[in-house]
Symmetry: C2
Subunit: 670 residues, 2 copies
């Protein structure tokens, strides 16, 4: 073995608080622990003592956009009035409340009618999961299978919506699937098959139970993933502290933005603005960005799996499902962390430590460079290393983990990335060889290990992007690349036969902005038609799309009716504070009555208006053995890139890092 | 301003030499400086004293694949016989020679007939560039425009092929475009318009000259990019040694591969193999990978620009155009560098220091992770940070710089990335506002600055990927995702109406492997049908494609006939040592008579054969003001991902880095 040569790299990291005193709220700061407790107190007081409202969602009721922008333009010692919104279940009804925190009172109360339920609380999921373990018929089913009930864990799965299942309509039901934890912690890989268990969450009891068939049990062997339990030899070894910030307003290099937490979407980026040295001012880019929904339909139509068509954000809550990040594993050693609070089912604040991390990325990329050899007696080799700031959240709903990144580049680009990792959803099957599974029409997945099928499925992520290029009033412009025949007249008298040109088309209404990507080459730009560069180009930000996916489910299938926001990869809507979630507000057992596809039927005007872009990206997933027992991260994302937003490159004058000595280490002060 | 908190990050980096003694050649090592000198001597001796052959290309004549593989399976002190191939111009003819280095003689000599010329030498480009500066008519043109000839630099542009231009057929001609360097080093941004200058390279004289019209000159203002010359204030500041390796065989974590230099493609990755702890052996993944061609057609059909349809690799040589990397700018501070040699026009070795860099990437990504909350009394949060090894080359042909990366991941993935940066190709125009350019059919680009149009163009990159999954004999398999209607019979009696499944199709011949991406969802896998996992899945590597691009030029247009390898995004051919360059061997003024589109017409058998995959990725480029005067890098690439190649995740047992103390620094020994 050759010698090892270690070097030290200095990483400089800084987060600035824009609003210096933590006593004054940024208008978009999430509710604090104290504010959540106050909401709990006010809400509980508004109900009779024994009505026990269950808190499903509590969040800042954001001030109107124009109020936020005016306050921030001239921040005052007095913060904007703080209000909270709360969604509760009370006596089998869904209540929507708005609470004024200063006046300490409920200012509005509304009962939600129609289909769709709020996202599940973790506590009711835990209670439902425990029900089978003391339920006589389940104990008999376990005995029949030779399974020790003390070695069983169960997990809640939302039931989706199928018009034919009339018995579920109006009831908050879930299905329960149980797994063996005997000799494994990868419980998702050892499902107990052949059972149907339906629980009514409002009554918290099993309302349907069927033991249909006994299937073979996959083996626990090879499913361990904790390093401490894995047999030696280990390896390869990965070469590579821990600080915390409480400020939600960040300023980094030429960027400033606000990072907030919301129990529904989790990570929310607001008020992203970039400094323009020509204008000597910060200019607005994005008022708000978050993941609006994650639709994961499995592709097995049989009894045990047909209903598995999850909407992870709307049904489980991306914020509630965000995990505490593992320092040095989930984020590099120089990351800083942020905590969050959300309302538990009785309204008590729940603390999630390290829910976000923020770090500078030095990935060894090149920001820009050029070597010039054409000029005699002059040698030029100018190069600037890339650096960016990443804000990260990781969401784990059951078996899967999604790594959600927002990345800010000094050039003006905002890049997103989603990384898929965690454990596959598998089913047990009688096969002993891949050829049997391939020959069957019943496999619906890849044969991965003994008796184990990794199920086919999709991940559709829908991003909400309230881009405000230099102010709210923007247009959505398609720059179509169109092939042309050279007419060979006038100046064109050349032997060239063809070329392409750009034909610009501004979308006037929502219909004109529905785009299925992959049809033709088009640049998609959010432009401010009222602000132009000196040469006369409208200020814009361009979308370089993420991994393209189109739905393969039939349009009349329940899951696809609910997931109809995946029918297009791009949608543009006029800004409306109530339209934030592509699958609608109440997603559990929704029937497609709310959401993007419904709103846009009104075909509203979107030209020179305050507009929001929605972008659907995703992955079809055909599992393979490498995904077992733990999937190496698969990533994809999109870029929002300034396009005639600046007069010239924003990083032309970027200062390269100071030279360093070999084997040395040092500290750089700006 | 808040305080700055600097941390130190330890980066461990190591390159191992697989063949310990540098005296024994790896069979794929590039020709050394001494070997190149020997080739020069032998070749010159084989010609009469005054015939002055010009060396256009000298490279290792690689041994046959099976000889390489058998030697490496059992390396002997005696290396494989070293032979060189050389392409020369002698008396206006193209000669192809093979030289035996041990026997010190030319073992074959062949004269190339038909269209197509070898790539240009840098020296003849320089000589041609100087011709206008002493050419009477050009001096008069300059005077007419008020341009000081001492402030002019000229640059060679290949002429492409258009059947109508019969006067060029059989002649090694180029066009010359001149630029002003007055008050700028971004010469490409100040073209002298309206001139046609044609140079015969073999005669080294101007054979055609036209002064057609006088156009306005773009301004030098705002085109400076050297930090030392840019006015204060500078910023933002970028936070961030220099070692060299002479071993071409690298071993890193669970990977080993060979890095070589070739004057035509530049960076060549060979013999990529990954260690399998189950098989306790290195297993083959890729025999050879390189960029086969880069096609950049500009989209202006008018006199000055119609012919600009460059094939940067075939016409200029990616290796010859590879630049010396800038430490700390082009590569991070912990990178190691590698030098290269190529044959100059008289055969003398030319030294390129720092032509490649190799570095570990710690980008803050997550290799895999999972938080488990479903098991009572057990808390699990396992996470492994991603680390990878990057091999980089940067190629600068005139104005554009392409950053070429090959990245190796411990999970078994090989990722590629190409980054586009450098200076736009612009033309001068009479416009003073973007609206005028938009209204004109003659602009063919974006109005970027006074009198300056950034021309529309494309970048098509074609990768040569000789994947050998567990040996050479492989098949190309399309796993089509096909929507199905739920028939509601048997086990399917559920309310689910639809799902998708996988229909597998093995390509039998070259025609069946030509794929235009974007039509339907398909997983593309190179499989070894003779090697299966324990569950019975054929060993495979899957392609996750790069940015999809389709040609927009007409199929009967000269440039597209030459660039017909872009008609599909995927091609698969049987391995043939002579088929390495998608655009053919002799690309300058080629007529489409050689290359992928021609070879595959034979529709050869590719099932269970030694096969090569070709992947075309690319970017349509509509310039914007941010690309001026220096374009921030725009990146894209593809991933080759193991798919049932391993029995399970290859990184399950990866060891996380040791914990570090805050504000500390340290050195880690494995």
């Amino acid at each position: 073995m050759a010698t090892i040569k270690p070097f030290l790299l200095v990483l400089l990291f800084s987060i600035f608080s824009r609003i210096s005193s933590s006593k004054t709220h940024h208008p978009l700061d999430p509710l604090t622990r104290e504010e959540l407790s106050l909401v709990q107190l006010i809400v509980k007081k508004s109900y009779p003592p024994r009505s026990s409202p269950v808190f499903h969602y509590v969040a800042l009721d954001e001030p109107e956009k124009h109020d936020v922008l005016s306050w921030l333009a001239k921040p005052e010692p007095e913060p904007l009035p703080r209000r909270a919104q709360a969604i509760l279940r009370v006596h089998k009804q869904t209540h929507e409340l708005v609470v004024d925190l200063k006046a300490r009172k409920v200012v509005s109360k509304h009962v939600h009618r129609g289909p769709g339920f709020p996202s599940l609380t973790l506590e009711e999921q835990t209670a439902a999961n425990d029900l089978p373990l003391t339920y006589g018929p389940f104990l008999r089913s376990a005995a029949k299978r030779g399974i020790d009930v003390s070695q069983v864990v169960c997990s809640v799965f939302t039931v989706g919506w199928f018009a034919e299942e009339k018995q579920f309509i109006g009831k908050r039901v879930v299905k329960i699937q149980c797994f063996s934890k005997k000799d494994t912690v990868s419980v998702y890989l050892l499902p107990v098959e052949g059972l149907t268990i339906v629980v009514d969450l409002d009554e918290m009891r099993i309302v349907e139970y069927k033991d249909r068939e006994v299937a073979p049990m996959p083996r626990a062997e090879g499913t361990e993933y904790r390093l401490s339990k894995l047999p030696l030899p280990h390896g390869p070894r990965i070469n590579d502290t821990y600080h915390r910030t409480f400020f939600h307003a960040c300023r980094w290099m030429n960027w400033e933005f606000h990072v907030s937490f919301d129990a529904r979407p989790g990570l929310v980026i607001s008020m992203a603005r970039i400094y323009d040295p020509d204008q000597k001012a910060f200019r607005s880019v994005m008022y708000r960005g978050h993941i609006s929904e994650l639709f994961v339909p499995y592709q097995d139509p049989t009894e045990d799996y047909y209903y598995k068509t999850f909407f992870d954000s709307g049904e489980f809550g991306f914020g509630v499902s965000a995990v505490s990040l593992v320092p040095n594993g989930d984020c590099p050693s120089h990351a800083v962390y942020m905590d969050a609070f959300y309302a538990g089912p009785d309204g008590t604040p729940v603390h999630v430590p390290n829910v976000f991390c923020i770090f500078e990325r030095h990935a060894g990329e090149v920001m820009w460079r050029h070597t010039e050899l054409a000029i005699p007696h002059v040698t030029i080799a100018e190069s600037r290393p890339e650096v960016s700031l990443v804000v990260r959240m990781i969401v784990t709903v059951g078996n899967y983990d999604h790594v959600i990144d927002w990345e800010f580049k000094p050039s003006g680009s905002i890049k997103t990335q989603v990384g898929l990792t965690g454990i596959l959803e598998v089913k047990a099957a009688n096969y002993t060889h891949a050829d049997q599974a391939a020959a069957s029409e019943e496999a619906h997945g890849t044969y991965l290990a003994e008796h184990t099928i990794g199920l086919y499925h999709d991940h559709f992520l829908t991003y909400y992007l309230d881009i405000d290029v230099d102010g709210a009033t923007n247009s959505f412009v398609k720059k179509n690349l169109v092939p042309r025949r050279n007419t060979n007249t006038g100046h064109h008298r050349t032997p060239r036969k063809s070329y392409w040109t750009v034909v610009t088309e501004t979308a006037r209404t929502e219909s004109e902005a529905k785009i299925r990507l992959g049809v033709g080459p088009t640049e998609l730009v959010i432009e401010n038609p009222n602000k132009k560069t000196k040469p006369g180009n409208p200020h814009g930000y361009r979308l370089i799309p993420g991994p393209v996916i189109h739905p393969l489910l039939a349009p009349d299938d329940g899951p696809q009716i609910r997931g109809s926001f995946t029918n297009y990869n791009i949608w543009v809507t006029p800004y409306n504070k109530t339209e934030r979630y592509a699958g609608g507000k109440y997603v559990d057992q929704s029937q497609g009555e709310d959401g993007l596809a419904v709103w846009t039927r009104r075909n509203r005007k979107i030209e020179n208006e305050d507009i929001v872009m929605w972008h659907v990206i995703g992955f079809h997933h055909v599992p393979c053995q490498e995904d077992f027992p733990m999937m190496p991260t698969l990533s994809g994302g999109f870029e929002l890139r300034p396009t005639n937003f600046f007069e010239r490159s924003a990083v032309l004058k970027a200062v390269p890092p100071p030279p360093m000595k070999a084997d040395g280490c040092g500290v750089v002060e700006p």
